[in-house]
C-alpha cells in the first residue's frame, strides 16, 4: 500500500515539476550576483513539503559582509530559504555551500555521504538566527539567555561572556533589564534581546526571519533602529533579512532579491529594484505595499 502511494505521489510531483518553467532571472544593472569567493552558495536548491513545492530551483550566492534582503509575498518560500541555511529544514535536492564546503553532505573515505551531526554542528557554528517569535529561553534571565551559548558552546570564560553580553545589551538598549525574565518584557524588548543573543555568538552569517512581523506596530521602530545600528557597525557580518519593511530594506541592504512562486525572479540594488521594478509580479507586489501604507 504505502509504496504504491509513494509511486503515485512521486509521479504527480514530477508532473508538476515538468509543467513549471524556470523564469528568466532579472538582474538590475550594477548588481553583484556572483563572487570569486562566496560565503554562501545555493545551486538549484529545491524544497518540497509533501506535495507542495515551495522552492523550485534557487541559485544564489552571498558575499562576505553583504547585507541581503529577501522580499516576496507570504508563502513564496523566503523563510524556507534561510531556514535551510540554519539546518532547520533540509532541502529536497540541490547543493548548499558555506565557504565552499557542502552543508548537507561530507566527504568520508573519499566518498560523498550525508552530513552527520558533527559536520552539521561545525557548519552551524558559522550561522546564527533571529526568529519572528523571538524564541528566548523563558526559564533564563536576559543575561543568561545571552551568556549560556557563548559559555557552553564556545567554551568562553563566564566572566568574559558576561562582560560581552552587557556590552551587547547596551547596544540594543536592554542593559537595564539584564535580570528580567522574558515574560516580563514587551515584544520589542524580547526581540532586541534575541538579536543580542544571536550577535554574541559572532556568526559569519546572521539570518533575520521577519523579526518585526509579530510585533505591535509601536514597537517595530525600536527594533529596526537597533538592527540598523548593528548592520552599520558589524561590517564583517553577513546579514540576510527576510522582511516586509521595505523602507528599512532600502536603507540597510546592499542587494534585494525578490522571490516569487519558488524562484528568484528579480534582484538588484535597493534603489533600482524598489524604484524601477521590471517584472509584473514585483510591480504588483510593490504597489500592494504602497496601497497598504496609504490606508
Amino acid at each position: 500500500m504505502e509504496s504504491a502511494d509513494l509511486i503515485i505521489k512521486t509521479a504527480r510531483k514530477s508532473k508538476i515539476q515538468k509543467k513549471d518553467i524556470k523564469p528568466e532571472m532579472i538582474v538590475h544593472e550594477g548588481t553583484l550576483t556572483t563572487f570569486d569567493n562566496p560565503l554562501v552558495k545555493y545551486i538549484n536548491v529545491k524544497k518540497n513539503f509533501g506535495e507542495l513545492q515551495v522552492l523550485k530551483g534557487i541559485d544564489l550566492e552571498v558575499g562576505y559582509g553583504e547585507k541581503l534582503t529577501i522580499i516576496g509575498s507570504s508563502g513564496s518560500g523566503k523563510t524556507t530559504l534561510i531556514r535551510m541555511l540554519m539546518t532547520l529544514e533540509k532541502p529536497s535536492s540541490g547543493i548548499m555551500e558555506i565557504e565552499g564546503e557542502s552543508l548537507w553532505t561530507m566527504k568520508k573515505n573519499g566518498k560523498t555521504v550525508p552530513a552527520d551531526e558533527a559536520h552539521l554542528r561545525k557548519m552551524r557554528s558559522k550561522v546564527g538566527m533571529v526568529f519572528q517569535q523571538y524564541n528566548l529561553f523563558p526559564h533564563m534571565t536576559v543575561l543568561d539567555n545571552c551568556t549560556i551559548a557563548p559559555i557552553k558552546v564556545k567554551g568562553m570564560d563566564p566572566e568574559e561572556a558576561k562582560e560581552q553580553a552587557i556590552q551587547m545589551l547596551k547596544r540594543v538598549k536592554m542593559s537595564d533589564k539584564i535580570n528580567y525574565y522574558p515574560n516580563q518584557l514587551s515584544g520589542g524588548q524580547k526581540q532586541r534581546v534575541a538579536i543580542a543573543r544571536a550577535v554574541l555568538m559572532r556568526p559569519k552569517i546572521l539570518l533575520l526571519d521577519e523579526v518585526t512581523s509579530a510585533l505591535d506596530p509601536e514597537m517595530v521602530g525600536e527594533v529596526l533602529n537597533v538592527l540598523n545600528e548593528i548592520a552599520q557597525e558589524e561590517k564583517e557580518m553577513t546579514m540576510i533579512f527576510v522582511t516586509h519593511e521595505l523602507d528599512f530594506a532600502r536603507e540597510i541592504s546592499d542587494r534585494i532579491i525578490f522571490i516569487n512562486e519558488g524562484y528568484i525572479l528579480e534582484q538588484g540594488k535597493p534603489e533600482s529594484i524598489l524604484n524601477d521594478p521590471k517584472s509584473e509580479r514585483l510591480q504588483a507586489f510593490l504597489s500592494r505595499f504602497k496601497e497598504n501604507r496609504n490606508l
Binding site: 526568529f131 524564541n135 528566548l136 529561553f137 544571536a198 555568538m201
Partner: protein
C-alpha cells in the same frame, strides 16, 4: 471495644514499620523517576526497533497488575540466581511499575515545550545533550511536578501490596500484631490514620504547587 492502652502499646511498633513503608515509597519513586525518563528517551529513539520495543515493554508493564509483577519478581528472580531481600524486590517492583506512568508524564511535559525552543537551541549550536539539559528538560519538568506528586501519593498508598511478598511494612506489621492479640480494630484503624496523615497534606501540597506553577510569571516576580 476500643482500648486506648492497647493503642498506645502498639503505636511504636506500627511507627517503626511505617519507616519501611517510607523507604519503599521514596526509593521506589526515585527509581520510577529515573527509569521513567529512560523509557521516554528510548521511546523517542530514532532507531525503530529500540523505540518500538521500549513502547511494547512499557505498555506491557503498565497494563498488567503490580501484584502479579511483584510475585513474578519475588518468586522467579531466585531461579536466575538473583537473590535479593524482599524489600529490595518490592522497591524494584514499585519503581518499575510506576516508571511506566511517569514516562507518560515526562512525554507530556516534553511535548508541551514549544518546537521553537528546539530551533533556538539549534541556532545557538547546542549539542543534543545540551539542548536536553539546558533548554528542554528545565522547561518540561516544572509543569509536571504536580502530576508526579500525584503518582508519588498513589505509589505510597500501594505499598501495602509489598505485604504479599513478606515485606514487613505497615499493613503486614498490623496483621502480625492483630493476630498476636486477636485485636484488629485498633491496629487497622491506626494504619488507616497513619496513611491519611501523610497522604492528605501531600495532596494539599500538590494542589498548591499546581496553582503556583500554573503562573510562572508570578513565581518569578
Amino acid at each position: 471495644m476500643w482500648s486506648w492502652s492497647f493503642t498506645f502499646k502498639v503505636l511504636p511498633k506500627l511507627l517503626s514499620a511505617a519507616k519501611i513503608t517510607f523507604i519503599a515509597t521514596i526509593l521506589g519513586f526515585l527509581l520510577a523517576s529515573i527509569l521513567g525518563l529512560v523509557w521516554t528517551f528510548l521511546k523517542r529513539a530514532k532507531i525503530h526497533w529500540i523505540s518500538s520495543s521500549a513502547t511494547a515493554i512499557v505498555e506491557f508493564i503498565r497494563r498488567t497488575p503490580l501484584l502479579i509483577q511483584l510475585f513474578f519478581l519475588y518468586y522467579t528472580l531466585p531461579s536466575f540466581n538473583i537473590r535479593l531481600p524482599a524489600l529490595t524486590v518490592g522497591i524494584i517492583g514499585l519503581g518499575l511499575h510506576y516508571s511506566t506512568y511517569l514516562s507518560e508524564v515526562y512525554r507530556a511535559g516534553i511535548e508541551a515545550v514549544e518546537k521553537e525552543q528546539w530551533e533556538a537551541a539549534k541556532s545557538l549550536n547546542f549539542t543534543p545533550y545540551q539542548t536536553w539539559t539546558l533548554v528542554i528538560l528545565p522547561q518540561a519538568i516544572p509543569p509536571i511536578i504536580p502530576m508526579m506528586g500525584n503518582y508519588l501519593i498513589t505509589l505510597f498508598k500501594e505499598t501495602p501490596l509489598l505485604a504479599a511478598i513478606s515485606v514487613v511494612e505497615l499493613l503486614q506489621q498490623a496483621k502480625i500484631i492483630g493476630s498476636e492479640y486477636f485485636q484488629y480494630l485498633e491496629v487497622f484503624t491506626l494504619v488507616g490514620i497513619i496513611f491519611f496523615i501523610f497522604s492528605y497534606p501531600s495532596s494539599l501540597l500538590v494542589q498548591y504547587l499546581e496553582i503556583k506553577l500554573k503562573n510562572p510569571a508570578e513565581k518569578r516576580m
